[in-house]
């Protein structure tokens, strides 16, 4: 079986966001493989370690620097990488066309994708890729096992969680709590440098963005920051409730 794990390189969550020339400035900031995608790589490794015979291929579409994120996946244990190099920002629907083509060429049977990545706050890539392949999907997965060729797991629905079974091939999207991703060990980091990353050009896929981005802004809402000292609990609370009622008008 071949498993694809989709990788995005994103701004580290602890980094502050800066905007320059109508776009979020990434140069000079710490960039990492999205944690959501780490769960995908980890889960693929765990399926293999629990007995499934699988080759794990990490796939990234993005700028030249995205190779670093692929190397992280390889250092965790993925077997090889595919990097579609482009500076074009593809929306999820357009990107899914690239992913689906790669899945077909690779003969993949299982794809892991982040539930919602930290750069574009999109939840669409996994579902759109599944649709293009004519596969079912399990989103926001919190537990997963492979029994023969059936995935058995748990995932989050609108309210509460559901247990599910779905036969391969399928797309699975991840979330926090699915597993604890491993740290790459030094020997594995050394080994990963020798692993293959196949470079391709986006042009070969004939895909163009469907959504045009006109600019970004950081809208910081000015907060009042009326913070009271709670040493005198009763007094502070009386003042807070008065402000919430009379100034903010948010409680009756």
């Amino acid at each position: 079986m071949r498993i694809l794990t989709l990788i995005r390189q994103v701004l580290d969550a602890e980094e502050s966001v800066r905007v320059r020339n109508g776009a979020v400035e990434l140069e000079g900031s710490k960039l990492v493989m999205d944690t959501m995608d780490e769960y995908g790589v980890e889960e693929a490794l765990r399926l293999r370690e629990s007995g499934a015979e699988a080759e794990i291929v990490a796939v990234a579409v993005g700028a030249a620097r995205a190779e670093e994120a692929l190397r992280t996946a390889l250092a965790m244990g993925a077997d090889r990488g595919i990097h579609v190099v482009t500076d074009v920002a593809l929306d999820a629907i357009a990107l899914s066309a690239v992913m689906a083509q790669i899945a077909k060429t690779e003969g993949a049977e299982l794809i892991f994708c982040g539930g919602q990545e930290a750069d574009w706050d999109s939840q669409a890539l996994g579902a759109a890729t599944a649709e293009r392949l004519g596969w079912p999907q399990a989103t926001w997965t919190s537990a997963l096992e492979l029994k023969d060729t059936t995935l058995v797991g748990k995932h989050e629905a609108d309210e509460g969680s559901e247990s599910f079974e779905v036969a391969l091939p399928a797309v699975v999207t991840t979330q926090q709590g699915l597993n604890e991703p491993r740290y790459p060990t030094l020997p594995n980091i050394m080994k990963s440098k020798k692993k293959e990353i196949r470079k391709e050009m986006l042009e070969a896929y004939g895909v163009a963005p469907k959504v045009k981005v006109n600019g970004v802004e950081i809208q910081v809402k000015e907060r009042l920051k009326k913070i009271l000292d709670g040493k005198d609990a009763a007094g502070a609370v009386a003042q807070l409730v008065k402000m919430l009622r009379e100034d903010a008008g948010v409680i009756a």
Binding site: E14, W120, A124, I218, A234
Partner: protein
């Protein structure tokens, strides 16, 4: 035609349906049609008839339970037959799960989780959040049909009219379900839903214990008629159900007031609530990041402050 998919739960039209109706009207592109999918949905369809120009009803036992493949097939079919120019879907977990499939089926652009939507000369302009809700991105899409998911709370709820629009039954060709749901744990609380509440009271590790959470957070929420939220740490520790989690991997809320009890304010949590209109923080650590985005707050022991607050509110 503008088509919106009217979500419902427990026999009632969801708040999101009223918000979608407002978003649809704002586009000024002719008739607004509501699509109701489900089983035994007559009362829901009747409610939808008060906010749309026509209601398309697919009432079938096959639609008793949501499924991404079934829902996307149904919506794409109706959008194609009705020549919809815009398809509006709620930005709920399920809405954001099946809408990409609708977009692919219709070869349409997808605008996700928009907070604003305008039609400028046939081009749809929208805003949505990126980078863990820290950045607002302006996007546009122009196509014969565009699929849009709308963020909960971003649009005002439409007021129901007095004249009911005509209802049409629709027949659908539905695919087989392949994701076999073998069990579910629905966490019912009797409180107002987290994403629909005007006030949310959320608790973090600072409440001390699961019992402390019940006493302080639930206690304050019940006093205010508010929904209950929780941080990931509290959910991971098993104190609270996942359905209450607010943040990157939980729910995103935008209430009139968000009251954070014993929450320090990790960036992943803030991304789920930082657009709240008024933020109130109660925490013993005055340097906690939550105070940097708070409108009001008290630095103090939640075990003293919150019971005092419940007392004060009872007065």
């Amino acid at each position: 035609m503008i088509l919106f998919v009217a979500e419902h739960a427990n026999g009632k039209l969801s708040k999101s349906a009223y918000e979608l109706a407002t978003a649809a009207r704002g586009l000024n592109r002719g008739d607004v049609a509501a699509l109701v999918l489900g089983s035994g949905v007559a009362s829901v369809a009747a409610a939808a008839a008060l906010i749309a120009d026509q209601v398309l009803v697919a009432d079938s036992a096959d639609l008793a339970q949501y499924d991404a493949e079934v829902w996307s097939a149904a919506v794409a079919q109706i959008a194609t037959e009705g020549e919809a120019e815009v398809v509006l879907i709620a930005g709920s977990r399920s809405g954001r799960e099946y809408s990409p499939r609708v977009a692919v089926k219709l070869d349409a652009p997808l605008l996700e989780d928009v907070t604003s939507l305008k039609d400028e000369g046939g081009v749809l302009h929208a805003e949505h959040y990126t980078f863990l809700t820290r950045v607002t991105e302006r996007v546009e899409a122009k196509a014969a049909v565009v699929v849009v998911t709308v963020k909960a709370g971003a649009f005002a709820a439409a007021a129901p009219g007095t004249a009911a629009a005509e209802q049409f039954d629709v027949d659908l060709e539905l695919p087989k379900r392949r994701l076999n749901v073998t069990g579910s744990t629905k966490e019912k609380t009797g409180r107002i839903a987290l994403t629909e509440a005007d006030i949310v009271v959320s608790g973090g590790r600072g409440v001390g214990t699961p019992e402390g959470f019940v006493q302080l957070v639930e206690g304050l929420a019940d006093q205010l008629g508010a929904a209950v939220g929780a941080t990931r740490a509290v959910v991971d520790a098993g104190w609270r159900p996942y359905s209450e989690q607010v943040g990157q991997t939980g729910k995103t809320v935008q209430p009139k007031a968000y009251i954070a009890v014993g929450i320090s304010g990790a960036v992943q949590h803030l991304s789920g609530m930082n657009k709240s209109k008024c933020i109130v923080a109660i925490n013993k650590d005055g340097d906690a990041p939550i105070f940097k985005i708070a409108d009001y707050g008290i630095v103090g022991d939640v075990k003293e402050i919150v019971p005092a607050m419940i007392q004060e509110l009872r007065k």
